[in-house]
Symmetry: C2
Subunit: 118 residues, 2 copies
C-alpha cells in the first residue's frame, strides 16, 4: 500500500499522537503533528529517529537544544533524555521499533501507543 | 548530528549508490539518487522501505508496477522480487537493517554496499 506523507498528515488533527504508516520488519515508520512542549523522557532500549516534514522542532537535551527544520534528520540515542518542543504546528516522521511508547520511561497524560493511520 | 535531506542529496552525484545518513539501532536510513532501470532482485531477510523525496520511482513487481511520486512511501515485503526504475533523476530515502545490499540476491555490476555520506 502506498501512503503519501502529505495526504496522511492532512488526516491527523490531534497533537502528539503517533500514527503508524509503515511496518518494516519489527520497526515502524510513524507520523505525528506536535505543538507545544512534550515531556522529558528517555527510551532505555532504543534510538529514536526524527525527520521534520514541516515546521520547526526543538529537541531539548540535557546538554543543549537541537533545532530541526524541514528536511532535518536527527537520532536521539537510546537512554538520552529529551523533551521535544514546537512553537508552531510541526509535522514529524519517526522511526523506531514497534511498540516504542511516545513518552518512554516518563508516562503521564500524553502517553499513548501509536495507532494505525485511520 | 543533524543531517538535512536536501543538503545531503546535493552531495550525491552518482546513481544507485546508497549513502547512510543515520543509524537507528541496527537499522540504517539511507539516501540515494537513481535514474534508469536497476536489476530484478529480492531481499530474502528483510522488508525494504522506500520514500520518494523528488522525482518518480516505479517499483516493478512481478504482479504489476507501483509508481511513487514525491512524499509517497511504500514497503516491499521481504522475499518479493522488485526492479526499481526511474525515467528521470529521482531521490529516495531507504530504511532497512544495516548491511542490506542494494542488489539483494542478484549481485551484478550495480551491487555495492551502502557507505556513509562523505
Amino acid at each position: 500500500m502506498t501512503v503519501n506523507i502529505t495526504d496522511a498528515l492532512a488526516r491527523i488533527t490531534d497533537m502528539w499522537s503517533q500514527r503508524t504508516v509503515a511496518a518494516v520488519n519489527d520497526y515502524e515508520v510513524k507520523l505525528a503533528k506536535v505543538h507545544g512542549e512534550f515531556v522529558w523522557h528517555r527510551h532505555e532500549d532504543t534510538d529514536e529517529f526524527f525527520l521534520v516534514v514541516s515546521g520547526r522542532l526543538t529537541l531539548q537535551l540535557r546538554d543543549g537544544d537541537v533545532v530541526l527544520g524541514p528536511g532535518d534528520m536527527y537520532v536521539v540515542p537510546k537512554g538520552v533524555e529529551h523533551c521535544p518542543k514546537a512553537d508552531e504546528e510541526t509535522a514529524i516522521l519517526l522511526l523506531e521499533p514497534a511498540g516504542t511508547l511516545n513518552t518512554g520511561d516518563a508516562g503521564g497524560p500524553l502517553s499513548r501507543p501509536a495507532v494505525p493511520l485511520a
